[in-house]
């Protein structure tokens, strides 16, 4: 058995990564497997808040059986490199829902990479990603949806929005569709923007200091990502971590 070769930038899913940081922890741990049995509902979350300068790679391989459902919430904020990947295979009539937020500053490289395969008919999937990037941070979402020939009536969407706080920050958004069936609904949208200057002046004119105003606008931007976390304690923890990171950034 030979050791796995280090990834290179020629590989699409590593194109925007921090390969030096990856090398420092290579080989990365084996993927976490999640198998959702037929008809079951399974909820998961990840708070990726590795310490400053650390590299963290989390790989998930998720199989969702017929009629089952998997909800995943991820907050990706920690480390020099924070990379979270999902390889998802959907059974007949199943559902996968990913809600994720990336919040980065300094020289952080934070990534969410997904590959969602609709292998059988009537499955649905939704991916909503919001990124906030300041200073020289890079945030990437690379997501492919693959619809097999038999996977008729697939309904899938990807919604990706990024907010840049500084001109030196970078957002990469790459939704991709590969479709072999003919009765399919796939929607994807990606936007990259900046804080609304008019809103900031309006808030200032009412007396709000700039940091409070920015934080409020950014909270509104990521609001919704953690709305449907079922466990209130988990929800509070994710929201508090997101807010603390935002307050560090502005």
């Amino acid at each position: 058995m030979t050791a796995l070769a280090l990834p290179t930038r020629k590989q699409e899913e590593w194109r925007y990564s921090d390969l030096e940081a990856v090398a420092s922890i290579w080989p990365t741990p084996a993927p976490t497997r999640i198998d959702v049995a037929a008809g079951e509902t399974s909820r998961h979350h990840l708070l990726q808040d590795a310490s400053e300068g650390a590299a963290a790679v989390h790989d998930y391989v998720i199989t969702i059986a017929d009629g089952a459902r998997c909800d995943f919430h991820v907050l990706n904020i920690g480390g020099k490199l924070g990379r979270v990947t999902f390889k998802v295979t959907l059974g007949k009539g199943s559902h996968f829902e990913l809600n994720g937020a990336i919040i980065g500053g300094g020289d952080q490289v934070l990534e969410i990479i997904t590959s969602v395969t609709h292998a059988e008919p009537d499955a649905t999937s939704g991916q909503t990603i919001r990124s906030i990037l300041g200073q020289r941070a890079t945030g990437s979402y690379l997501g492919s949806i693959n619809v097999a020939r038999d996977a008729q009536r697939t309904d899938a969407f990807q919604s990706v929005k990024a907010m840049l706080l500084d001109r030196t920050a970078t957002a990469n958004a790459k939704p991709e569709l590969e479709i072999y069936a003919d009765d399919v609904k796939c929607a994807h949208g990606a936007t990259v923007g900046e804080l609304d200057r008019q809103a900031l002046f309006y808030m200032a004119s009412r007396g709000m200091d700039p940091a409070t105003a920015k934080t409020l606008l950014l909270k509104a931007f990521v609001a919704g990502v953690f709305d449907d976390v079922a466990d209130e304690a988990v929800k509070d923890r994710l929201e508090a971590a997101a807010l603390a990171k935002l307050e560090d950034l502005v």
């Binding site: 004119s205 700039p210 606008l217 509104a220």
Partner: protein, 248 residues
């Protein structure tokens, strides 16, 4: 209270205000009228500190404090309120959250304790009631989906809650039907017609002045005040038009 001396400014290198002087005492209501493009909104934004409105000459002070040495949020904490002609929509931020953060930011800047949630809601209810605005509206995102009239009423609720010393209201009457105009006019009087406060109304039309009676009326044209007078000047403008009065 508000003193403006020889104010000149530029937007994108173009001179708009060209030596504007105006003095407003506590207890007074002044109205500035003028044709399109005279610089009325520019005056409001310049005093409020909107980015891009560069002061190139002159001075302005609020109670003796140089306005231009303060950031926009500091001017608000010092008691300045700017009513917007086009209030800005802020999706995802409720009016209540927006106002509570604003008020508490101002209080903090003045060294006062923040209002508690309960105290704030009580205040918001009182001021919303004054303007006939449903509290449910204040739970919605700032100005999102509000009609023109609702936006202007919400602005006056904001003014009531923030309780400024000096309000500059930029075409607060635009987009209002007659009933809303009466309510907004009564709101301005109730909140600002006090011996220790002052108002600068910027308007195209006489009709708001039927409800908020000004002590002085000024005509702004070509970046300067070209004529000043009492309330009768507004009626004269309405009757004869700006061209006639400015030329006279």
């Amino acid at each position: 209270m508000l003193t403006i001396e020889n104010l000149a400014n530029e937007i994108d290198g173009k001179a708009i205000l060209k030596g504007l002087s105006l003095s407003i005492n506590a207890g007074e209501v002044h109205a500035i009228m003028g044709p399109n493009g005279a610089g009325k909104s520019t005056l409001a934004y310049t005093l409020g500190g909107r980015p891009g409105y560069e002061v190139t000459g002159g001075a302005a002070s609020l109670d003796g404090v140089n306005l231009f040495s303060m950031e926009p949020h500091e001017r608000a904490a010092a008691g300045l309120f700017l009513g917007f002609q086009y209030p800005v929509e802020i999706p995802g931020v409720s009016n209540l959250q927006f106002l509570r953060e604003s008020l508490n930011s101002q209080r903090k800047a003045r060294g006062q304790e923040p209002l508690s949630g309960g105290e704030f809601i009580k205040l918001a209810k009182e001021k919303a009631g004054l303007l006939g605005l449903d509290m449910e509206m204040l739970k919605r995102p700032v100005n999102v989906g509000f009609s023109g009239g609702e936006k202007k009423r919400a602005e006056m609720v904001q003014m009531g809650i923030l309780d400024p010393k000096m309000a500059i209201l930029d075409e607060t009457d635009s987009g209002l039907d007659i009933d809303a105009l009466k309510i907004v006019g009564a709101g301005i009087n109730a909140i600002m017609r006090k011996p220790d406060k002052a108002v600068l109304l910027i308007t195209h039309y006489q009709r708001l002045l039927d409800y908020v009676k000004p002590d002085y009326v000024h005509v702004l044209a070509g970046g300067r005040i070209v004529k000043s007078g009492g309330p009768e000047l507004a009626l004269e403008l309405e009757r004869e038009g700006y061209a006639e009065v400015v030329a006279a």
